[in-house]
Symmetry: C2
Subunit: 548 residues, 2 copies
């Protein structure tokens, strides 16, 4: 007899499940419920449609109900909310929103892909703010766009410096709106660490966005014309975007008695089955296992939703497929820059008490002599003993996505930092260097592990300055005009061997250069001449991203 599969949610996870189910089984009965009017739309494109770089609204609709029904022979019911799961009789109760009529629909397998909804806390005045928006779907998008087109706001406040907040800040700016971005933490873009985000802070401010960190919203006043912050600051504004995160839509699952994780995500096993094996769940609504550290986490991104949807369809059809956890590879365009990360960041490793080693390098995106090369700030976190790669972060104007993808692939391939120099990546001057940035990260990591050099981190410098330690700048003197570490002395690398007598043998010498390379060369020279020496990891560039 034909299987009957009911799917809740018709976008990333849901629509993917439906399509693959049909390819696997022409006979199955497949019913897909979607609360909204649209299925299979490009969530990720919404900010860019508002900003105007995507010009056609239709382009956001990846599949239409008619098209998809026809191609995949599906029973798609939009404006239909599943309001209850009746596990005992294997049915769902559905409310047809235009008529408010409810009915039951039976299933053999139920797939939940309800996503996550924007967090909207009960901040005083929030309900009276008639210029406040959240962004999740097409109607939200239409509302924001109509407001901008008709009300022509001059000023906007974006609350939340995550992906959606930053993308919205950029896209409102594209529309000529004066933007203030407010973030509670000390940095935007939580997947990267502070000193990496600092590069973005600078860039965003250079673009003319007012960035307020370490401050939250206390209240909205005058129907949202005034945003009052915890610090007491007030901001006048014509519109507000609230983008402080999303929470899994797990209420339905919870009411049905399915297991829910601590942070509200639906719990699933490696086959993506909930605690009821005939009910699967995927996408933003579920809790996943962190691929690197094995801990439960939530990663509301499109790749996992798509991947999980396909796996569920396969498993329902008897295939032995598993979901192995989520790395959390993520990327965003931030004005002219790109920020991307994969695996665990330093904050996470610290929190979990995992021992790690860290490096920062600034290689060019491609051969420096070929036009269009820009440095990439690349950070790598790894295990000092095994060389296991915990995570990587990159910020730059060019070639950032490629390096993070290569590193994400390396992690999934179980490669260690010792293998990175052996990655044979494509080189011609417009694309890379003969040693790709990823190779370089491998070299630098290996040198750390093999004790070719010891390093200190950017955040340790000011302390050394205060203590009056011996800090040696090995750059050319002209480079110091753009800034240097206070109280550092200058001995250019080329003169070092001749000026060894100027340096103390009894205390540690801290060397630095612009990015870490010449500092490393200096360290090698000094170490072999019997000095105690440490090199500033990432050089003045990483240090000054935070302190200059």
């Amino acid at each position: 007899m034909a299987k009957k599969i009911v799917i809740v949610g018709g976008v990333a996870g849901g629509a993917t499940t439906a399509a693959r189910l049909r390819r696997l089984d022409e006979q199955a009965e497949i019913v897909m419920f979607e609360r909204g009017e649209y299925i299979s739309f490009a969530n990720c494109g919404l900010p860019y449609y508002i900003g105007g770089s995507i010009t056609k609204r239709d382009a956001l609709l990846v599949q239409t109900v008619e098209g998809m029904s026809e191609k995949f022979n599906l029973d798609i019911r939009t404006l239909s909310e599943v309001i209850q799961i009746n596990r005992d009789r294997k049915t769902v109760t559905v409310k047809h929103l235009p008529t408010n009529k409810t009915y039951e629909e039976s299933y053999d397998y139920l797939v939940l892909s309800p996503g996550a909804s924007p967090i909207k806390p009960p901040i005083p005045g929030i309900d009276d703010a008639n210029n406040l928006f959240t962004l999740r779907n097409i109607p939200d998008t239409d509302r924001i766009k109509a407001y901008i087109d008709h009300e022509k706001p001059k000023k906007a406040v974006v609350i939340g410096g995550g992906f959606i907040g930053v993308e919205m800040a950029e896209n409102l700016w594209e529309r000529g709106i004066e933007v203030t971005l407010v973030e509670m933490a000390n940095q935007i873009m939580a997947p990267v660490d502070y000193e990496m985000a600092a590069i973005l802070h600078q860039h965003i401010r250079d673009k003319g966005v007012r960035l307020i960190l370490e401050d939250g919203v206390a209240a909205f006043e005058q129907n949202g014309r005034i945003v009052k912050l915890n610090s007491g600051k007030t901001i006048e504004t014509d519109m507000i975007i609230l983008a402080i995160g999303v929470k899994p839509e797990s209420e339905l699952a919870k009411q049905a008695g399915l297991e829910i994780g601590e942070r509200g995500g639906i719990k699933v096993n490696e086959y993506l089955q909930t605690s009821d094996p005939s009910i699967y769940a995927v996408g933003d609504a579920i809790e996943v296992k962190d691929y690197v550290n094995g801990q439960p986490t939530q990663i509301p991104l499109a790749w996992p939703a798509n991947r999980q949807g396909r796996i569920v369809a396969d498993h329902i059809n008897g295939r032995d497929v598993r979901y192995n956890g989520t790395l959390g590879t993520a990327i965003a365009k931030v004005f002219d820059m790109t920020v991307a990360a994969t695996g665990n960041n330093e904050k996470t490793l610290k929190r979990l008490g995992i021992d790690y080693e860290v490096l920062h390098i600034h290689p060019n995106s491609h051969a420096s002599y070929y036009p269009g090369a820009f440095p990439i700030a690349l950070k790598l976190l790894f295990d000092r003993k095994t060389g296991k790669i915990f995570g990587a972060q990159a910020v730059g104007y060019d070639g950032v996505d490629k390096r993070i993808d290569v590193l994400a692939t390396a992690i999934k391939g179980g490669l260690t930092v010792f293998d990175l120099p052996d990655l044979e990546l494509a080189y011609a001057p417009p694309y890379s260097s003969a040693k790709d940035p990823v190779n370089m990260a491998g070299y630098v990591a290996t040198n750390l592990i093999e004790e070719m050099v010891e390093t200190i981190q950017w955040h340790e410098v000011n302390d050394l300055v205060e203590k009056g330690e011996c800090i040696v700048d090995v750059r050319e003197s002209i480079e110091r005009e753009m800034g240097f570490i206070p109280n550092s002395i200058n001995i250019p690398l080329g003169q070092l061997r001749k000026r060894l007598n100027e340096l103390p043998k009894d205390k540690t010498i801290y060397v630095y250069c612009q990015v870490g390379l010449r500092g490393y060369l200096a360290a090698r020279i000094l170490m072999q001449h019997g000095f105690k020496v440490k090199n500033l990891d990432g050089g003045y560039k990483t240090y000054s991203a935070v302190y200059a």
Copy 2:
């Protein structure tokens, strides 16, 4: 006692070895001989300096003799050719070219990195052609550039459609010169297969370059003003670039009795030692092991030279490091397009009698709704049984380098096609799709192995047409206006389920669409309704790249 290392050749392999040697050992005596005037120059940038996109000649000089000597405390001797290796007494004989004086220099370890020289066969008239150039180093570059600047040639013939030939064709064209590119084989860019190169042929011709395939040079006449081809064609020209390949500079090694491979490369072991363990060799001059098939090969590229140079320095210093073979990852800019490849191509696998499966897809470089997305023609070769990845090729306007790098990493990580869907790559609309092209390749490969669909290849189509087989075009009828396979009938995918009765149950149905995706969906429907069906891999797009 301090080791004394003598290096022959001061560019990619040689200079890298010297730098790393010094970092490892401050005491070592390091002598680097270079025949030319310059060391450590950017070979790969030379065509772009001629073309004008690199404007400063200085930018080509990565390191100067003074700078490098100082930084690394090296004894660098330019204009000094090593003319003999005296293995018995561990010395080399050196000729100082300006003075013609020779002397001996002793070594504990000798490192050969002499590179490869342009092939210049004794074609009739070649010695009288005073407008004929080859390109390897700075003096060659100066000569070519001066000729263009002063003689203002209107027409040029480039002989050889490899990387350097194609780059030179493009860069001469950039200078406003009418270019004819002559290639003996039926395709340019040998690392990719014919149907992939066909995309480039079209693009090059669209740019106005005259491309002559399957024809070689028979003679040069009138001091190089006439190029006569084997076919009898004659081409008038103002200048000629000869770029038909390079041959290892292994003469010195050969005379010293070191083992030489069949194709002229110096033989080395996994530590890059020649048959004399105190003599190492790296770079273009050596024979390497093909990483995929294990056979000896020659890969004259910069990544291997750099990697090998570092390994040699490490091995001389007692470290246990090995060179594991070369994948041959390669890339080139071809006007507005990029072509890249890694691992083995179909020609190689066929030649070696290795059983393989093949797929072609055409995914967008990033989300199609975000501006600037272009399709990537991506070809994957793999083992049908194990899923082992043999190689990959890509051609497109955007995102080609990233996908080949990810696949090269996957190969080095020992990942199979079954793992590709699990690569968690960075997605936001400007960078990729929720299923990255590499994920997609994994899905398509898995479907082939799991017999979800059978495919035919582009080169099998015309035969089927001739035999009057049943070929069904499942695209929308409007898409046929841009071309279709002769004698194919049109049943758009959306109508297929309703029109099954129009199709024969007793013979194989060959379905196709634009890129292979809808053909796959059609195949799934038909298979499950009891039809015998095969899908055209890569769709009309791959087919028409060759035949339209």
